[in-house]
């Protein structure tokens, strides 16, 4: 396939948290609000003159200082953020809308706070409480938490308009991005998709880490390009996979999977498009803040949700992706030391395999995985397994000899 015109540009944007578009927006007087987790509704951080930025630590090297503060038994993503903060890599942020959803990320943020690693008199950090199940009083609780811990700070420190109208406007802008990403993502359903998982990962990731108004044109142009793109005649993959699990902000992981022969057709992981890039609709009469909170809670696929309905819904959701995107298997991945996905991966990989009879690869991985030979070997073996299963199915039974 012909290379996408802006792909290299987008790839470069992902090399720094404080990339050129972030710097441009800051120069234009915009406020950069960092966040780390889907539990903090991204769209609410794009009200008025704010722009959201999902925190990453690209090109992470040594984690020595963060390891001193957080031990070597904690999630590398959390430690990488702390290490980058120690290096001064987030000094451009005007606030961090953190959530107390997972203990390790919470500690990472608290280390940044206690050590005063990000300067600025007006800089603030919130610790929003997040319910473990979806109920009406839970929605009200989360809305109240955001109102008092995030919006109040934005208003008091920076004079930001957080009104109902401002939220609705932010939702409109958010939906423009969602429509583009969704349409691009739909092409992954094709038998010979005109977009690779890696390309999609780059495009989607850019929407999380750049001011949306500055990437909209290039994304639109890319969508046009993909609409008219001709896929290679011969398929470039041996099997199709859904990736499900914890945080992945490293497109090299997707690249590694695809180099091993598995095309990534659906991305159900934190920083992925399921959920996160679906349009939000708010009724005329609804309280916009509550409506957004409800939507995020309902859409969330986080393993932290512990009601029976949500537990079952997570499994059904992945199975549906498997079916809708004509996948041959599922890769359940977990960032090493992540308690939530450690449990979920262990149990659900059994359920998917033994009860749903779907091929599953269950792996844990470090924060930066690009050069892992071990991971490559496991994925190659999985691809072979899926191929054998396909041949078995074509022959109508098990292979013997």
């Amino acid at each position: 396939m012909k290379d996408l015109k802006h792909l290299f540009y987008f790839e470069n944007l992902l090399q720094e948290a404080n990339n050129e578009l972030v710097q441009q927006a800051k120069k234009e007087g915009k406020l950069a609000i960092g966040y780390t987790c889907f539990h903090m509704p991204e769209v609410l951080l794009n009200v008025d003159n704010c722009f959201s930025l999902r925190m990453r630590a690209p090109r992470t090297g040594s984690l020595e200082i963060a390891t001193y503060y957080m031990s070597n038994y904690t999630c590398e993503y959390c430690r990488a953020l702390l290490e980058r903060a120690v290096e001064g890599g987030y000094n451009f942020l005007d606030g961090i809308a953190a959530v107390d959803a997972c203990a390790q990320m919470n500690r990472s943020m608290e280390n940044i706070l206690v050590q005063k690693l990000i300067p600025g008199d007006k800089f603030f950090m919130s610790h929003v409480d997040v319910p473990y199940k979806v109920t009406e009083h839970g929605v009200e609780h989360q809305a109240e938490q955001i109102r008092t811990k995030v919006f109040k700070k934005l208003e008091e420190n920076y004079g930001v308009d957080t009104s109902d109208d401002a939220i609705r406007k932010a939702v409109e802008e958010h939906n423009k991005i969602c429509r583009i990403i969704t349409e691009i993502g739909e092409y992954r359903k094709e038998e010979n998709p005109r977009i690779t998982g890696y390309e999609f990962h780059i495009l989607n990731l850019v929407t999380y880490v750049c001011p949306k108004y500055l990437i909209l044109d290039r994304l639109q142009e890319t969508l046009e390009e993909i609409r008219n793109r001709e896929p290679d005649e011969k398929k470039n993959y041996r099997a199709r996979v859904v990736i499900a699990g914890s945080e992945i902000d490293d497109p090299d992981f997707t690249k590694l999977v695809e180099e091993a022969g598995a095309l990534v057709v659906a991305d159900r992981f934190c920083f992925g498009s399921f959920p996160g890039r679906q349009e939000i609709h708010i009724g005329e009469e609804e309280d916009a803040l509550k409506a957004v909170c409800r939507r995020y809670m309902e859409d969330s696929q986080c393993a932290r949700y512990m009601s029976h309905e949500k537990i079952q819904a997570r499994r059904d959701f992945v199975r549906k992706l498997y079916e809708d995107y004509h996948a041959d298997g599922i890769i359940y991945e977990q960032l090493k030391f992540c308690d939530y996905w450690g449990y979920e991966r262990a149990l659900v990989s059994h359920i998917m395999q033994e009860e749903y009879e779907l091929p599953v690869l269950s792996v844990d991985r470090p924060y930066r995985v690009g050069s892992s030979g071990q991971m490559r070997t496991r994925i190659q073996a999985f691809v072979e397994r899926m191929e054998i299963k396909k041949i078995q199915n074509q022959r109508g039974g098990a292979l013997h000899g």
């Binding site: 031990s71 107390d100 929003v128 409480d129 319910p131 199940k133 512990m306 030391f337």
Partner: protein, 548 residues
């Protein structure tokens, strides 16, 4: 002939001499053994290796030894009574569940907690332990009577509301016709204290299943027990909870599959200090009550609930007095007893069983008398210590060891410091707010949830209150909540000049960090940093890796 007679007489004399020598030797041996027994103070290490516990009991002077022996018999009596009440069920349970045999080690577990204790300390510890044993025997009694694995569907099972063991059980006081039972307490929690090897099997079960080995062994073992099919089956419905940590949240997905009961997850706010979080918490509690009513057909009985909460409040008062006394120059309850008892009375009973209050009354009487008489709580009190973070279940008597070996008196530990709020017993709405407050501050959660200040700043405050000069800081290597603050603890301890001993452990997995390794952390610090000699050198190093 004469010669022969002479030879025989000579041989007879020889044998007589040999016999008297043997007799002398024997006398010496008996005498040595008797003295060793009397001087057990200098051989306490042997108690922990199992060398002496099965042979004879610790010598504590005539009066204390006799008292201790009688109480030891009482423990066997309580256990035998439980078996006699349901002999068939108990035998079936022994065959069906591998964890049940661990309870045979109860008397030895208690001995380990009591090593070196004399006078009031011995009596206080024995009072606490008696109540713990009686609580456990009742728990097991109900378990084997109601277990559908052993008895099939039965009426008792239908009266049981199952609770996650990490969930305080106060609310069940409002359902006097029902029995609230913590699901994992008998198979996992208590056996992990009794027998350091017990949970290894369940941890292997979960790890073989695919769960990473880096997660906390408590929820991991809970999941493993489910995978192994080792939970008794009973109950009408199940209350799970998000307390106290991420691991506890996630082990619920395993319990959800295992128990297959209608389930209500009680999910209280993590940021519990926020004023606006109270309404949400109260709604959650109300939802739980409604759920139990709907699933059992019972109605919440406010009178019964208030009556139990009055008892609970009195127990809380007594707990406060223990802390008050320990803050003085004459602390009376040191070591691990404080936490073990408090965990059961607060979490698993919560005012429902009047026997806990009676125990508190007796303990208070002994404690206050000893305090007035300025009784020293240990042979040698060198350091006043606070224990922070969660302790190793497989080394529950670590505090006792630190006191006996190095004169480090553990005055308070994080596990004991749960909510001390009195529950309103008149106003229903206010009472539910108090319950929410109390639940939010359950064991561990009070400190590890709600922001770093609750565990970091709180430690320095507690050190001041208890006039502590030393902190034994458990580094439970799988506890990511605590690990995330390890550098800040170190930095701030240095700034404050507090002696900080890091003791690594892995909660329920002695293979990762052994008891001996835990002791070495303290030994090393005391010798190299403090330049001290042990109070009892026999306790400094011994091998107990294969012991209970």
């Amino acid at each position: 002939m004469d010669k022969k007679i002479e030879e025989l007489l000579e041989k007879g004399k020889e044998l007589k001499t040999q016999g008297s020598e043997i007799l002398k030797k024997e006398k010496k041996t008996v005498s040595r053994a008797f003295h060793a027994w009397k001087d057990m103070d200098h051989h306490k290490g042997d108690v922990h290796t199992g060398e002496l516990t099965t042979a004879f009991r610790e010598w504590r002077g005539v009066k204390d030894t006799a008292y201790d022996f009688a109480k030891w018999l009482q423990v066997w009596g309580d256990m035998s009574l439980m078996i006699m009440k349901n002999p068939v069920g108990s035998v079936k349970g022994l065959w069906k569940y591998r964890w049940f045999s661990s309870y045979l080690q109860t008397p030895m577990f208690i001995d380990a907690q009591l090593t070196g204790l004399r006078g009031p300390q011995l009596r206080i510890a024995r009072e606490h332990m008696r109540m713990i044993v009686r609580f456990c025997t009742r728990l097991l009694e109900n378990t084997f009577k109601a277990d559908e694995n052993l008895n099939g569907p039965n009426a008792l099972s239908d009266k049981i509301v199952l609770f996650d063991e990490m969930m305080p059980i106060h609310i069940m006081a409002g359902f006097p016709n029902l029995i609230g039972m913590p699901s994992q307490m008998a198979p996992v929690y208590i056996t992990s204290l009794l027998d350091q090897q017990m949970q290894v099997h369940y941890l292997d079960e979960t790890e073989n299943y695919g769960l990473p080995a880096d997660v906390c062994p408590l929820p991991s073992a809970e999941a493993g027990c489910g995978i192994a099919g080792d939970y008794p089956i009973f109950g009408k419905c199940y209350i799970t909870s998000s307390m106290p940590c991420d691991g506890s949240v996630m082990t619920n997905i395993f319990q959800d599959r295992y128990f297959k009961l209608p389930t209500y997850p009680l999910t209280l706010p993590v940021r519990y200090l926020d004023e606006q979080a109270v309404d949400y918490a109260v709604e959650e509690i109300k939802g739980m009550i409604r759920f139990i009513e709907e699933n059992t057909g019972e109605t919440f009985d406010w009178d019964a609930y208030f009556e139990a909460m009055e008892r609970y409040n009195k127990e809380t008062e007594y707990e406060q007095e223990k802390w008050d006394v320990n803050q003085t120059a004459y602390p009376q309850i040191t070591g691990s007893i404080l936490a073990i008892y408090r965990e059961l009375s607060y979490m698993a009973d919560a005012g429902r069983d009047p026997r806990f209050l009676k125990t508190d009354e007796r303990v208070n009487k002994i404690m206050m008398k000893a305090y007035r008489e300025k009784n020293p709580c240990a042979k040698e009190m060198r350091h006043r210590a606070v224990v922070w973070s969660c302790p190793a279940h497989y080394y529950a008597n670590f505090g006792n060891w630190a006191e006996q070996c190095w004169g480090i008196d553990v005055l308070i530990d994080m596990e004991s410091m749960m909510s001390m709020k009195f529950i309103n017993t008149e106003d229903k709405e206010e009472s539910l707010k108090d319950i929410a407050w109390t639940y939010e501050r359950m064991a561990m959660r009070k400190h590890t949830n709600g922001g770093y200040a609750n565990v970091l700043d709180e430690l320095w405050k507690v050190c001041e209150e208890f006039h502590a000069d030393m902190v034994i800081m458990y580094s439970h290597i799988s506890c990511k909540t605590m690990a995330g603050l390890q550098g800040l603890f170190d930095d701030q301890a240095r700034e404050r000049g507090i002696r900080f001993i890091w003791v690594e452990h892995d909660l329920m997995d002695p293979r990762t960090v052994s008891r001996r390794h835990m002791r070495e952390s303290v030994n090393r610090y005391m010798r190299t940093v403090m330049h001290e000699e042990p109070v009892d050198p026999s306790l400094e190093d011994f091998d107990d890796e294969k012991e209970w």
